[in-house]
């Protein structure tokens, strides 16, 4: 079956150049990067090269990059690492579960957490951040780009507010890095998370930017790896992959490739909006990352549409998978004010570097027809169509 993958916000395929860069680091150059002999020296060099590449992508010094197992660990390290009992944390209702649950866990440990609301467009209001500040606020954590809608948050303003208040600003940039230029100095953040498998590097590797001078309690205790911020033998092959993906991303951004990406996304979005009635873009009119569109398709069950499309070879997503694999409506869309049935009727399409115009054509050929079929079976659609 011909398959088209439009769920790159869930994960991305490893690019062939990334895979080739990683290849020697399994069986040929396999040394523990901390060993003093030749084998360790050569992998140590590779790790540090990768660190430089990631630092260049984010606009920071190599010494400010900590390698982790992924975005979730980076988020947890930043949050648990900076906050202690009695501290106050400000975060938002549209954060990834890694941030939300890490904050919830802190509450149990004696911290106070304020969760800021989102408006209907999916944006966090910097003034809300300012208003939520307390004498004991230690950290603000607001993401750079939302994974469900792609909406870009006003991180620079939030960074300024945090700086004025002397509060640590962490941002989860997992969905923003490599898609748009991200500069930690411009964002004014003290900590920033990225994830390898969202940027065409493998699963199981990520990084956390930690501004020089920011104290962080490590999550893992053991060896003194990563400047004593993250114990554990380095995932050399993964890190090499992340470094290569970061380098390729920097080059692509330098060429303005993201404009091609947004043009394809726009064609997909306009195509669906043009061919299907009763649809709306969640996050309409707000600045977004170039690869994402989250579309609400009224009078259908999103879960059934995702399955029907998958059976025809098109991969997209809706909501979030729970532990059994069933889908729960997106907390982000609910936070934006959608009703549960509207959230359940929303589909996310997210493009990747490997996405072609033919892929967009394929999606445009399948989606309107699949929606029409579902609507034929929908009692609410018939009711509404009958009354108009």
């Amino acid at each position: 079956m011909h398959r088209v993958y439009l769920d790159n916000n869930a994960t991305t395929p490893v690019l062939s150049e990334v895979f080739e860069a990683m290849r020697p680091y399994f069986a040929e150059r396999f040394g523990n990067a901390s060993s003093i002999h030749h084998h360790g020296q050569e992998t140590r060099a590779a790790v540090e090269d990768a660190r430089e590449s990631v630092a260049k992508l984010l606009g920071c010094a190599a010494s400010e990059i900590v390698f982790t197992s992924g975005g979730t660990e980076s988020d947890n390290l930043a949050i648990a690492g900076a906050v202690a009992a009695g501290d106050h944390v400000i975060t938002s209702s549209i954060e990834h579960h890694a941030v939300l649950h890490a904050c919830k866990h802190l509450e149990k440990a004696g911290c106070e957490v304020t969760v800021l609301p989102s408006d209907g467009r999916g944006l966090i209001d910097p003034e809300d951040v300012r208003r939520a500040l307390r004498p004991n606020t230690k950290m603000v954590s607001v993401m750079t780009a939302n994974n469900e809608t792609g909406v870009l948050q006003p991180v620079e303003e939030i960074g300024r507010i945090a700086a004025e208040a002397g509060v640590i600003f962490h941002t989860d940039a997992v969905q923003a890095a490599a898609k748009i230029p991200v500069d930690v100095r411009q964002a004014g953040c003290h900590a920033l998370s990225i994830s390898g498998h969202k940027i065409h590097a493998p699963q199981g590797v990520g990084a956390l930017y930690v501004k020089k001078g920011t104290r962080l309690q490590p999550l893992f205790h053991g060896g003194r790896h990563e400047r004593q911020r993250r114990a554990g033998t380095e995932n050399v092959a993964g890190i090499v992959g992340l470094g290569k993906a970061a380098q390729l991303a920097k080059e692509a951004l330098g060429r303005g490739d993201e404009n091609k990406m947004s043009a394809m996304r726009d064609r997909l979005e306009q195509g669906i909006l043009g061919q299907v009635d009763d649809v709306a873009v969640n996050g309409q009119g707000t600045p977004r990352v170039p690869n994402t569109t989250n579309i609400r398709i009224d009078h259908i069950e999103g879960e059934s549409l995702v399955i029907a499309l998958d059976l025809k070879g098109l991969a997209v997503s809706t909501g979030a998978a729970c532990s059994s694999g069933a889908i729960e409506p997106s907390h982000v869309l609910i936070a934006m004010g959608l009703r549960p049935d509207e959230a359940r009727a929303s589909i996310r399409f997210s493009l990747g570097k490997q996405t072609t115009e033919a892929d967009i054509d394929f999606a445009l050929a399948l989606v309107p027809e699949a929606v029409a079929r579902l609507r034929e079976l929908s009692p609410t659609y018939k009711k509404q169509a009958g009354s108009s």
């Binding site: 069950e301 059934s304 399955i307 029907a308 729970c322 059994s324 069933a326 079929r373 579902l374 079976l377």
Partner: protein
């Protein structure tokens, strides 16, 4: 029977049609998936996520860990592994809201009203043969196959779909399927209808399914350990509702008050234990009166009744009961169908008059009417 089903299938040009198999992670549905796959059909495996087993874990004495129940994570894992093993696409679909609304809530409310509910029939009516059929259709599968022990066939003469008892009467699940409509039956089939449980397990082993020896789940899927009273307490407390006070008197059939009880939901007709009164001869719950919170007890002889009224009747093999009809009636799952006459006594009511008095006819249970192995229909005992 099987040949009829096969003929029907070829008439529907099966090779191009997709069949959704409802998979629970158990032996029966797993074997159905493997069988149909081996026969060359286009299959999609579906599990309905109906109840979050962890929701009430730890509440009010409910067990912390739940395994081995329908919809537990272990069961979903098992279903998924079977699907992977036989090479079919597999999805879990979330219908927790509907299950809670159409099965769990009514379950609690029935008990609190002094009746003994059958959630499995409600689940069949609203979820397994309604919601699942809808999802199947939405994803492009015209029909659903399940692991139920029952048979469906089309009677050309009557122009009706018939539900029949299976070959293995010890596993007969038709009691729980009396609510199926013609539309639902036309899109369902039961590949295990002609097989015994032993044959099914053999077939599962032949297909080398990891779950071939998994024990059957016997109880209500959302009540771990079978303690429905604890479930009701835990559920109400989780909902922030207080258990309604239905404490009242224990009364004899003569109206004499002989004791007290702490809540009508603690009792079911025919129950002997837990009455809290000691008398010379055994006492049984004869009737539960929700209106005046009374539990009426009496000797064994009071448990027998010769008739019952069934409401919200669903008829399958016939369009209507226009004149009194001889059938055999089951008043609970584990019960030998008893000869009776059924007649319509109202728009929505059928009177069942047994040849012989039956023991412990329980409001809330179903009365299912059989004509040989054909399910005529059934209704809810009032």
């Amino acid at each position: 029977m099987l040949t009829e089903a096969i003929e029907l299938e070829s008439r529907l040009s099966l090779s191009t049609n997709t069949i959704a198999v409802a998979m629970s992670g158990g032996v029966d549905s797993s074997t159905v998936a493997a069988m149909l796959c081996a026969e060359g059909h286009n299959i999609v495996g579906l599990t309905m996520q109906l109840w979050n087993q962890r929701r009430l874990a730890g509440h009010e004495g409910m067990p912390e860990q739940v395994t081995g129940r329908c919809c537990s994570l272990d069961d979903v894992y098992d279903a998924r592994r079977v699907a992977q093993q036989i090479g079919i696409p597999y999805y879990v679909v979330n219908h927790e809201d509907r299950f809670e609304r159409d099965v769990v809530r009514p379950f609690v409310e029935e008990y609190l009203s002094g009746r003994t509910p059958i959630p499995c029939s409600l689940c069949n009516n609203h979820l397994k043969f309604d919601q699942l059929l809808i999802v199947a259709q939405q994803i492009g599968a015209e029909r659903v196959a399940t692991g139920h022990y029952a048979r469906v066939s089309h009677d050309e003469g009557r122009g009706r779909w018939l539900l029949k008892r299976p070959a293995d009467l010890s596993k007969d699940q038709t009691y729980f399927l009396f609510g199926l409509t013609q539309a639902q039956l036309s899109r369902t089939f039961f590949p295990l209808g002609d097989m015994t449980k032993a044959q099914v397990r053999e077939l599962a082993a032949k297909h080398r399914l990891a779950i071939a020896e998994k024990p059957d789940s016997q109880e209500i899927c959302f009540v771990p350990g079978g303690d429905y009273k604890r479930f009701i307490d835990a559920y109400l407390s989780e909902q922030g509702e207080s258990l309604p006070d239905t404490a009242g008197d224990l009364v004899t059939t003569n109206g004499e008050v002989i004791g007290e009880h702490s809540g009508i939901h603690n009792f079911t007709v025919g129950q002997r234990k837990g009455l809290g009164v000691a008398t010379g001869s055994p006492l049984y719950v004869i009737q539960i009166s929700g209106a005046n919170k009374q539990v009426i007890v009496g000797g064994d002889e009071h448990l027998y009744s010769q008739s019952l009224r069934a409401k919200r009747v669903n008829l399958i093999s016939i369009a209507d009961v226009r004149e009194p009809m001889r059938v055999a009636v089951k008043i609970r799952h584990r019960h030998e169908p008893a000869p009776a006459v059924i007649e319509r006594t109202g728009d929505d009511e059928i009177l069942v008059t047994f040849d012989e008095p039956q023991r412990a006819i329980t409001p809330g249970q179903a009365a299912v009417f059989y004509d040989g192995d054909v399910v005529v229909g059934g209704g809810w005992i009032t």
